[in-house]
């Protein structure tokens, strides 16, 4: 590929922030009509690369090298010149659809604004064009009026609006930074399909920044693997993903390929017949929506007659998309909210959350390794907090001793107890969270999307740690996730939840291989799958050939 035919050409890009070199000597090229997947773990510099192209680096960042868009160097342009280029020549879609739109402006106006600013269209014409654009991204005006506000739309619909804005002026380059990471799998599949279609129809180039190799495998023509601010490996997606040359890429692929069947931890001959550890029977939990002093509230049944069991030492999955009620169910299981109907039994005893002796048998690890610790507390205080359930808090020396021992068990150092949570990386924080869950010696740990925010290599380490703890301590896990691949890799049984009900349950292997409920089947089909995508790629692909020609 030579420079003349490249739409975007990044040469020896260097970015320094606060004196720290974060990108050193990065080279990338992208041609019109092509999709380039920019993959890497957090801190690899993939988002910074995307922001450099747009000239949106944080203030104080120093750049060197060249970024050529159709032969023009973007790095030498003034802010004013870049303003004209952003939107007109380069469109951008961000990760978070909740914050990418202005909450106070109707969606039609937001799309029209770009057209009026850059395209010079009058208000009426701009709105008419906005309607067309929204229809193109799957929001027909008949059902999604231009006068709707962002909060009236779902996450996926908002991301469609963001895409409509990004493509409004037919940019030659579209940059999408983790465009589907915040979305459910079925929504993700639709957005990826939309992006693929737009590239095909508009002939623009797409720079797809993502951590998810399966997404790249489904969409990208070429792949560039980034690590520590440089390109490790670059080439056609098919060859890089099927036959990676570099050890780093091989490792990334290996961690992304999860086993398709969970290992059984140790010998549990008592398994199926054992008395259930957790038994949820016909649980109902309603929320009152709206209402107030004068308005009558309406009820929303978030959990609608759910029953599930977890036996001692068992790893059980609970999957479902956002809004299906799984968080509400979890809150009830943790005794945080009282259910309106049904009951929860723990080790055979009725459990309402007011029994400390039972409560200490269930602990939780949250998704967000950043939000789950009080920023003002030290690690030993954080990890020791659940000891409150034992009635009398041990003295600080005893707390420190116990916490230190636990930290070593989860792969940290005892000395880490004196530090604050923000001094640790995401993976280390999840280890701290696991230590906190272990300190009351629970029989069940609820893992609420506990590995969803982690890089694949870190995810592999945390999953291995969880497996070891299950083996050594016989702890049962209730693993709640929207990530079907992880659920498949570590759970023995699975419950599929939709609209407040369990729609399907059974042995994970059977449910995933022969789903009985159409919802489960849809969910499975929508989940990006590295193997499946690579197999599909092995078939001849005329479109890719056309772009290469």
């Amino acid at each position: 590929m030579n420079q003349q035919t490249a739409l975007l050409s990044i040469e020896q890009l260097q970015v320094c922030i606060a004196g720290r070199p974060l990108i050193h000597g990065l080279d990338l090229q992208l041609r019109a009509g092509q999709i380039l997947g920019l993959v890497g773990e957090s801190g690899s510099g993939k988002s910074l690369t995307a922001l450099s192209i747009l000239g949106l680096l944080p203030r104080g960042a120093q750049r060197a090298g060249r970024i050529l868009l159709d032969g023009e160097d973007l790095l030498t342009k003034s802010e004013r010149a870049l303003n004209a280029i952003r939107g007109r020549d380069i469109g951008m879609v961000f990760q978070e659809p909740m914050t990418a739109l202005n909450p106070l402006i109707p969606i039609g106006e937001q799309v029209a604004e770009v057209l009026r600013l850059h395209g010079g269209l009058a208000r009426r014409a701009a709105l008419a064009r906005a309607a067309e654009l929204l229809e193109r991204v799957g929001l027909p005006a008949a059902r999604f009026g231009l006068e709707r506000y962002p909060h009236q739309l779902s996450g996926g619909q908002r991301q469609r609006v963001a895409i409509a804005i990004a493509i409004a002026l037919k940019p030659r380059l579209l940059i999408a930074d983790e465009p589907t990471t915040a979305l459910d799998v079925s929504t993700q599949a639709q957005i990826l399909e939309l992006l693929r279609r737009l590239v095909r129809e508009e002939g623009c180039a797409l720079l797809l920044v993502t951590h998810d190799l399966a997404v790249v495998a489904e969409l990208a023509d070429r792949v560039a693997v980034l690590r520590e601010g440089g390109v490790v490996e670059e080439g056609a997606a098919q060859s890089v993903l099927s036959h990676p040359r570099e050890a780093y890429t091989q490792g990334l692929l290996q961690h992304s390929r999860l086993p398709r069947q969970a290992p059984r931890y140790g010998d549990r001959s008592d398994g199926a017949d054992a008395a259930p550890l957790l038994e949820v029977r016909e649980l109902v939990r309603e929320y009152r929506l709206g209402g107030g002093l004068f308005a009558k509230p309406t009820g929303l049944r978030a959990v609608d007659g759910v029953s599930l069991t977890v036996r001692p030492g068992e790893t059980v999955g609970l999957v479902g998309e956002s809004g299906c009620g799984k968080s509400t169910l979890l809150r009830a299981i943790l005794g945080l909210d009282a259910p309106q109907g049904g009951e929860i039994r723990l080790q055979g005893q009725v459990y309402t959350g007011r029994e400390p002796a039972l409560r200490r048998r269930v602990q939780i690890v949250f998704q967000d390794p950043y939000g789950s610790f009080d920023p003002r507390w030290r690690v030993w205080q954080l990890v020791a907090e659940p000891l409150h359930l034992l009635g009398r808090m041990p003295d600080p020396a005893e707390c420190r001793r116990r916490v230190g021992a636990l930290l070593e068990q989860v792969g940290l150092r005892a000395a880490d107890a004196e530090r604050f949570a923000h001094e640790f990386s995401g993976g280390q924080r999840q280890r701290i969270a696991i230590a906190r869950a272990l300190i009351t010696e629970p029989a069940l740990i609820v893992l609420d999307e506990a590995v969803s925010a982690l890089d694949v290599s870190i995810r592999a380490q945390i999953l291995a740690l969880l497996a070891r703890l299950a083996r050594e301590r016989g702890i049962a896990y209730l693993f709640v996730s929207h990530d079907l691949a992880v659920v498949r890799a570590i759970t023995e049984r699975v419950y599929v939840m939709a609209q407040g009900r369990i729609v399907e349950s059974g042995a994970t292997q059977e449910v995933f291989e022969a789903p009985q409920h159409p919802y489960t089947a849809r969910l499975l089909a929508a989940t990006p799958d590295l193997e499946r995508a690579l197999a599909a790629r092995a078939l001849p692909q005329p479109l890719v050939d056309l772009a290469e020609a």
Partner: protein, 276 residues
Amino acid sequence: MSPRSWSLRLGLVLSLGFVALALLALWWTPFDTAQLAVAERLQGPGARHWLGTDQLGRDVLSLLMRGAATSLGVALVAVAVGAGLGVPLGLWAAARGGWVDELIMRANDVVFAFPSLLLAILITTWLGPGALNAILAIAVFNIPVFARIVRGGALGLWTREFILAARVAGKGRLRISAEHVLPNLAGLLLVQLSIQLSLGLLAETGLSYLGLGTQPPLPSWGRMLADAQTLTALAPSLALFPGLAVMLAVLGFNLLGDGLRDRLDPRLQGQQGAVR
């Protein structure tokens, strides 16, 4: 030095300066403010009386210092009482939710619905003028300010996972409010305290000016301004100095508040971290 840290320093210097002056005045002033010396009345600024004398011959500098003690004292106590009641109410409203929240916040709305000065006039006309009643009046309209700001901050914290973790650890709402919520609102509170202090100072001056606050012979900035009003043609400096004192003190506390907010808010910290 960035403009922001510059304003924080100026704010610190001004507010600490006035506090120091007020503290000093409790033990020592250049002249006795209760001693009248009619022979020396209405002198301009000079070597003996740096800021001149008033219509009764009292030293203006000494009056200003004692006035600082009164005005700052009233504002401090009033804001402390307002925060002392408002903060727990806000924490309780956020922790309990439901009808408790509704009751507390609607009661706050009622207090908020009256213009604060009108409320203060109402209280002082009902209970009679005096420093104590000024404190009461200012404190009452500080309660909803603190209740509201604490409730808002606390509601955001209650949805955070570390609070959920504390609940899973079996801790009650009261304990979580004290151990997790309040410490994480400390920065917010510190800022609001300094802003309310400057507003309290203004309110005290206004009440005394109207004759509803501090009563003679206790000197206060508001009283000095009221006395000076009739004499502006004869001795303009009499209004100038207390006016300046009020302005600088309010400016000082406001700068301090703004500076602290910028210093403590991680979102505003080190702007180079933010994406433009």
